[in-house]
């Protein structure tokens, strides 16, 4: 029965029809508007999507054409993707915060015929680049504010369009029949969506995914965590991101669960709490912020509450994770944990909106082990996965009971993963993309003839068969003695300490690894206050001998942990220095997404890099800085260099397990 159904509903419009039949009265979508949660059932959603599709058809959208979707997570934008798919057209969600220039490239490259946008801001953006988009015929918008006086020649409010199409569908049965035929004729192998990768390197590329790609991946994900129609998610990550498309669109249709759209991007935390989501996804920084906020608030709490909090947090750290994983724990600890649940963990989870959470995922970047364990100790089933747009998300996932802070899990269902000779992770699965849109060269470079995809990431399998990602493959270098140098891996290990804000590691073709450290002014400033360390400026604090001692202790811990990993042991940090200024995107040292630009920094701070390697104990540096108002100035400083102890590497080979 299940198998026949699975083969019958092979496209998303068919799944919508099924949901409207099987669970027509259940809530499919909610949106908080004017302070109240508005909701739509599956049958209502189907009716709206049909009207939407009819509207798009009237505007001349034909099968195979592309339709851009631009805006934040709003029901009508999700429905517009469904409407396009009903017609056999292909939705192209676009990052709504991209500037007009980037948007122009994507819209022109995708040859979109209609743009469906959220509000005036996006309308303005699209109109400003319209002369570069010869294929664009119409623009539809959801939020009508501020658009009254615009020229409505090819600009249409969605509300009005829906009302008109409803009338047509009611009066003309052939319109409805045409839609039915279009949906019935859709196939799993049809192109479902084009997702543009954010393009940290070079131009964005359009990843083409079929219904089969997305649907099979989404279904595997649902089965893996046993998601069903009773689950609730909150949709707050960009529509153009593959994760949102899987979690908030595809899986909702597959499992039949409800998607909640927040009132505004600023109210997500509050809205999540009101809904009590059971399935969640967030990048590490969201969890990090929740933890920091809690710790800061607890500092201000009364002495009794604070002691209670720290005592039960200790209990949770000792046995919380073991209880979550179903391991054996002594009766005393179990009772204490119960009490803690009542007094501390329960109220905390309620604050976070995680009371009803069944499974929460984090991905995208490495998460600090402390943060990861904190949430798991509280009883939140936080897990990691590793995914890519090219794979319809899933490459590896952590199964329940096998969760570790520093791996991304085992290959997901139906996914094959192997490590290439040069250390690059490669995968093959039913979710693997068809090709990059209009870019056969890039496709050829990324996807082999037999369906294996180059992930671009370097990684390895540990003893237990879990994948560990270490860095982007092209960034991984070799040191002069031949041992591996993964800069981000080393940097992340250091950045997990709250006192360290940024790290730049050097070591490619060198004798040893050395790094620049940026202290975190808030954390270190706080520490200085508590320890009576007096300082007048960032520069002075950064150069303080006690601060150097503190950072040296962190580096020492990192070296010990690196020494315990046979593959990484060679990358222990031999020398470091603390930079006299914060690395800043305005000075070109970071990208706008706050990633360090290693090459640029190495050039700019040439004398300091030399000092790290010529053995000198200090060096002078003069750099130009850009102030916030655009003026320029020069900062000069004498920076000290500190030597660190390195440890002998554990010599045991573990690679066989993976092969």
């Amino acid at each position: 029965m299940v198998a026949t159904q699975a083969s019958r509903e092979d496209t998303f419009p068919k799944l919508l029809d099924r949901n409207a039949t099987v669970r027509g009265g259940r809530t499919a979508m909610r949106h908080k508007d004017l302070g109240i949660w508005q909701s739509w059932t599956w049958s209502e959603v189907r009716e709206i999507c049909r009207a939407f599709a009819e509207g798009l058809r009237t505007l001349g959208v034909t099968p195979g054409e592309t339709v851009a979707v631009i805006g934040s997570n709003r029901p009508r934008l999700y429905w517009s993707m469904m409407a396009a798919q009903m017609l056999g057209a292909v939705p192209v969600p676009v990052y709504s915060d991209s500037v007009a220039e980037e948007m122009a490239y994507v819209l022109a490259h995708a040859e979109v015929k209609v743009a469906i946008v959220e509000d005036q801001e996006q309308v303005d953006k699209v109109l400003s680049i319209a002369d570069r988009l010869p294929t664009l015929r119409h623009v539809l918008y959801d939020e009508e504010r501020g658009l009254r006086d615009y020229d409505h020649g090819r600009l249409h409010p969605i509300g009005q369009m829906l009302a008109e199409s409803r009338k047509r569908l009611a009066s003309d049965p052939s319109a409805g029949q045409a839609l039915d035929a279009s949906v019935a004729g859709s196939k799993g192998s049809d192109l479902a969506i084009i997702l543009y990768t954010s393009g940290t390197t070079g131009r964005p590329k359009g990843v083409m995914l079929t219904h089969d790609n997305v649907l099979i991946s989404a279904r595997n994900g649902c089965d893996f965590d046993r998601l069903d129609e009773t689950d609730e998610v909150i949709a707050y990550l960009p529509l153009a991101w593959v994760g949102d498309h899987i979690f908030s669109y595809a899986q909702s249709l597959v499992a039949g669960f409800c998607v909640n759209c927040p009132e505004s991007p600023d109210t997500v935390v509050e809205d999540r709490r009101e809904i009590g989501t059971t399935y969640a996804f967030a990048p590490p920084r969201v969890y990090e912020n929740l933890l920091t906020l809690t710790m800061v608030r607890m500092e201000d709490a009364g002495a009794l509450k604070r002691r209670m909090f720290h005592y039960f947090l200790g209990v949770a750290r000792r046995c919380g994770e073991r209880i979550l994983d179903g391991e054996s724990v002594s009766l005393g600890d179990r009772l204490l944990y119960r009490l803690g649940e009542f007094l501390v963990y329960g109220p905390l989870k309620n604050r976070f909106g995680l009371t009803r959470i069944k499974v929460a995922y984090t991905a995208g970047e490495a998460i600090g082990p402390e943060i990861f364990r904190f949430f798991r100790a509280l009883g939140v089933n936080l897990k990691q996965l590793y995914g890519q747009t090219e794979a319809s998300v899933y490459v590896t996932m952590q199964p329940n009971g096998e969760i570790k802070a520093d791996t991304v899990g085992r290959p997901a269902p139906d996914v094959e993963v192997r490590i290439a000779d040069d250390g690059e992770v490669m995968f093959r699965s039913p979710g693997v993309f068809q090709a990059y849109f209009k870019d056969p060269e890039a496709t050829q470079r990324t996807k082999t003839a037999d369906g294996w995809v180059h992930s671009g990431d370097a990684g390895f399998f540990d003893k237990s068969g879990h994948l560990k990602i270490i860095d982007r493959a092209k960034d991984v270098g070799r040191m002069r003695d031949g041992s591996l140098f993964p800069p981000k891996y080393v940097e992340n290990k250091l950045k997990f300490y709250p006192n360290i804000k940024e790290v730049v590691a050097f070591g490619n073709a060198r004798d040893h690894v050395a790094c620049f450290v940026n202290i975190d002014l808030v954390a270190v400033g706080n520490w200085a206050e508590r320890n009576n360390v007096v300082y007048a400026s960032y520069q002075e604090l950064a150069g303080h001998p006690l601060v150097y001692d503190m950072i040296a202790a962190h580096v020492d811990e990192v070296n010990r942990s690196l020494a315990a990993e046979p593959m990484m042991g060679g990358a222990q940090v031999a020398r470091f220095l603390i930079l006299h200024k914060e690395l800043d995107a305005d000075d070109g040292e970071l990208t706008r997404t706050q990633k360090v630009r290693r090459g640029f920094i190495a050039d700019r701070y040439g004398p300091l890099v030399d000092a790290l390697y010529d053995g000198s104990s200090e060096a002078d540096i003069r750099t130009e800085v850009t102030f916030e108002d655009g003026r320029k100035g020069v900062i000069a400083a004498r920076v000290k260099v500190r030597d660190c102890k390195t440890y002998p590497v554990t010599q045991q080979q573990t690679l066989e397990a993976a092969e």
Binding site: G35, R145, G146, Y150
Partner: protein
């Protein structure tokens, strides 16, 4: 900044408020001397001038807080000599203040609800118990307030006490409270004072949207000339309590008396 196709010069119609020969003094200090100008329906009217020129006094005269010794004020065709602020408010004049005047301990929502006070007519009895007609009325008002919250994009601070908010947001809440009165004439006393560039841009957009979407007539005092020239349809310039210029932003910019007042004259 304005949407294409909107020609405010033609849209702005009848005179909504006329100030004729108004003079105001406190003891021997003359705050305003023989000033006349008008505000037309649907326009954005700016009042500018150096410090102490009498701009805030002028707003206080318009909403009945001060009573001029001399001159007449005609609002919606009705001429008056004296008016009390609450009468002005019930006739459709709302304002914000140079220094934010909100109930600091109350939430954003409650502050904006307070703007609906004059529109409430349920009996005290029912209000006391929050039942029956009073409850239905409150729901109606809450709906209007929620629309304003949505309009000003302050959903995230709906339940935050306003005393905890940064200044720029407090200004926005104050605008929300004034909008809750659904005024015909909105008086804004330095709506952008103390704001950074981004906050100013947001506020400018809200003022334009209020004017454009609800057709509310706006009179504003502002020091940022860029903002004034971008937003307003007509500008009146005061100096030492006298009117020295009146016209479109371009006319005013070229006016020699205005240039002298702002840049100083060589002696």
């Amino acid at each position: 900044m304005r949407a294409p196709g909107s020609d405010k010069g033609q849209m702005a119609g009848d005179v909504l408020l006329a100030v004729d020969d108004v003079s105001l003094s406190f003891g021997g200090v003359k705050a305003i001397t023989d000033v006349s100008f008008d505000i037309r329906k649907g326009e954005i009217r700016a009042i500018i001038g150096p410090n102490g020129a009498g701009k805030t006094s002028m707003l206080n005269v318009i909403n009945g807080f001060y009573h001029p010794q001399h001159g007449r004020i005609t609002f919606k065709g009705e001429t008056r000599q004296r008016m009390r602020p609450h009468v002005a408010a019930s006739q459709g004049i709302a304002r914000t203040f140079q220094n934010v005047a909100l109930f600091k301990g109350m939430s954003t929502l409650d502050n904006i609800m307070a703007g609906r006070t004059l529109k409430m007519d349920g009996s005290f009895f029912w209000q006391l118990f929050r039942h029956g007609p009073a409850m239905r009325e409150e729901i109606e008002h809450r709906k209007v307030v929620e629309e304003i919250i949505d309009f000003l994009e302050i959903q995230a601070i709906r339940k935050t006490p306003v005393g905890k908010l940064p200044y720029g947001l407090q200004k926005r809440v104050e605008l929300g409270r004034a909008l809750a009165m659904e005024p015909d004439l909105l008086l804004l006393d330095e709506p952008m004072a103390g704001m950074n560039l981004e906050e100013k841009e947001d506020m400018s957009r809200f003022i334009l949207d209020v004017n454009n979407q609800f057709g509310t007539t706006v009179a504003l005092i502002e020091h940022d000339m860029g903002v004034v020239m971008d937003l307003s349809d007509r500008v009146v310039v005061l100096e030492y309590g006298r009117k020295i210029a009146d016209g479109t932003p371009d006319e005013v910019k070229r006016n020699q008396a205005v240039i002298d007042a702002y840049l100083g004259v060589p002696h």
